[in-house]
Symmetry: C2
């Protein structure tokens, strides 16, 4: 049997992550001694990286791991439930790992899940993941020879296969709805800018504006992080009366926007229209039920499970995206611009 | 080293659960052949059950498992986040297992977590767990020699140690608040009757009524299951005008009650007051912010982690309850009885 990254880690005493980074020429931050020792050991063992196939000799534990950024965020809780239902259908148990949106914890959990012998990993990237770190995360799973797919969040790289939504379309639908109601000064609270899905929602927003002859303006865009608080901060940051509508890139930040507007005595939708994104359970229970963009979470969950089963069975790496279409759900938080 | 239940399972080919049940005289449902084979093997291996101590020779994986009934229920998502924060403080990773409130899946996950070598388990019972099944679940963890504590839900047995809330006090606070507002006809939507915590909330409700000279009436109590739907069903089941206030034993069923009342044109709190339980995130975002009972989830999470660390270190079984005090949070859904 050929030598693996695990063998090298065991022999040298360095962690799998360290070995993986060094052997992929990303080990600059480690000492020269460490790098030399790892490279020498790899050479002695005749190590060859195996990037596009997973081991054929693995035992099946009938378990999958799911790495999520924040389980107390209702969207991820729902998505996890959907994926778990899918796993059950295929007779797999699922272990959930919560990262608090920290890339470093994705890495820890990937190592630990591999150690525990799960058959595959559903990976959702953390909000602080840079392009480089995302590539490292992918590389680590390849080096550990653990079947994996990405769900929901992606980086701009063809290697990132998995299940996602067409968020450009989602952002477009939300913004076009506001434009159709006569709004022209439409503010936007974005998600974490490192995240592909957040950038896509913003891209959809810009696309709808431009198509309708409205120039996107930088001062109308607040860089948020998908939290309630960032929605509240956005309202504090924008000059009053500078907008008649807000597109918040998720429901949590839309809640923050709504709360901040109401606490200032600004009525929704009479004075300001608000659109969210996700269709979280609370979006229809709130004071002014929220117009939002729904992602087909249950279907995504089932598809994710099927997809990872295929990856495990075919011993391949998934390099395509399975893309779902979001849907606009119109509720009471949006109305025709009142001065029209 | 002495023989374990695992050894017997391996030799006989039966599952750990089966072996555990048979050796604890709870194997009536299995064939005579199976029972005899297991008992004979146990005898040959000189097997002795080990009920009150955990193995001293285990390797530490620095991981814990948390078994939760329903991760899409915001209360459990918050509790999981709290426990995970506690685990992090002690340098432990946490794997979350979702059971969809099915006892059979608690059993599956306990076996799997033990198999994977976690150092300990936080167990939350499923809503369908009978007294007998709960004892079997406890017995299984003892037989697997896996350190464990119960969190949030308990059975009436001294062996069930762990972290919980004083739900009698919680149910009492909610009901007493309504009585203080002049209500006498107070309906109640309970949780699953098998659950200790649900029965305690109901007990607190009865206690407050009786202390104030109101006789609890069976037809005013709807047997719910902590779901939004069961709150809606309760309103359909009760005759209109037979009550002026409702105590729903969790926020989700209080949401159902509120939705059903509003859809019938009954105003909250002018016509009917509603109290929930949990202080879920949405309870203050809804149309009429909900008066509710708050459980100190973050503190519970930290205490649970500390407690399991102690159990692991001391190689003992926890046989005491660490009890937290709930707190009444008054919002807009309760008001003085209007005919007073």
């Amino acid at each position: 049997m050929r030598a693996s990254i695990k063998d090298i880690a065991k022999i040298t005493g360095y962690s799998i992550t360290t070995v993986s980074l060094v052997l992929n020429d990303k080990g600059d931050k480690f000492s020269k001694t460490a790098r030399e020792r790892i490279q020498e050991t790899a050479k002695n063992l005749n190590y060859r990286p195996n990037r596009h196939a997973v081991s054929l000799v693995k035992q099946h534990s009938k378990t999958f791991g799911l790495i999520v950024p924040d389980i107390s965020n209702h969207y991820f809780a729902q998505l996890a439930t959907g994926i778990e239902r899918g796993c059950q259908k295929y007779g797999r148990m699922m272990f959930l790992c919560n990262t608090n949106d920290q890339h470093v914890r994705n890495i820890e959990y990937i190592n630990q899940l591999a150690e525990m012998g799960v058959d595959g990993i559903f990976d959702i990237l953390s909000g602080d993941t840079t392009q480089e770190q995302g590539m490292e995360e992918l590389q680590l799973m390849n080096d550990l020879e653990i079947p994996h797919i990405f769900v929901d969040r992606f980086l701009d790289a063809p290697e990132f296969g998995g299940i996602r939504n067409d968020h450009i379309r989602g952002g477009y639908l939300a913004t076009k709805h506001l434009i159709d109601l006569g709004h022209r000064r439409i503010a936007c609270v974005t998600g974490p800018k490192l995240l592909h899905d957040a950038r896509q929602r913003y891209e959809g927003y810009c696309k709808a504006l431009i198509e309708n002859g409205i120039r996107p303006e930088e001062q109308m865009v607040y860089q948020g992080d998908y939290s309630v608080q960032s929605g509240e901060e956005a309202i504090s940051a924008w000059p009053k009366d500078s907008y008649t509508a807000v597109f918040a890139c998720n429901d949590a930040s839309a809640m923050g926007v709504s709360r901040a507007l109401m606490s200032r005595g600004i009525s929704i939708p009479q004075e300001v229209s608000v659109v969210g994104y996700d269709d979280a359970i609370y979006s229809q229970m709130v004071q002014v039920p929220l117009t939002t963009v729904r992602q087909p979470i249950q279907e995504m969950g089932m598809a994710a499970a099927k997809c990872l089963m295929d990856v495990v069975q075919d011993h391949t790496m998934l390099q395509e995206h399975i893309v779902f279409e979001p849907q606009l759900i119109v509720r009471a938080s949006t109305a025709r611009r009142r001065d029209l």
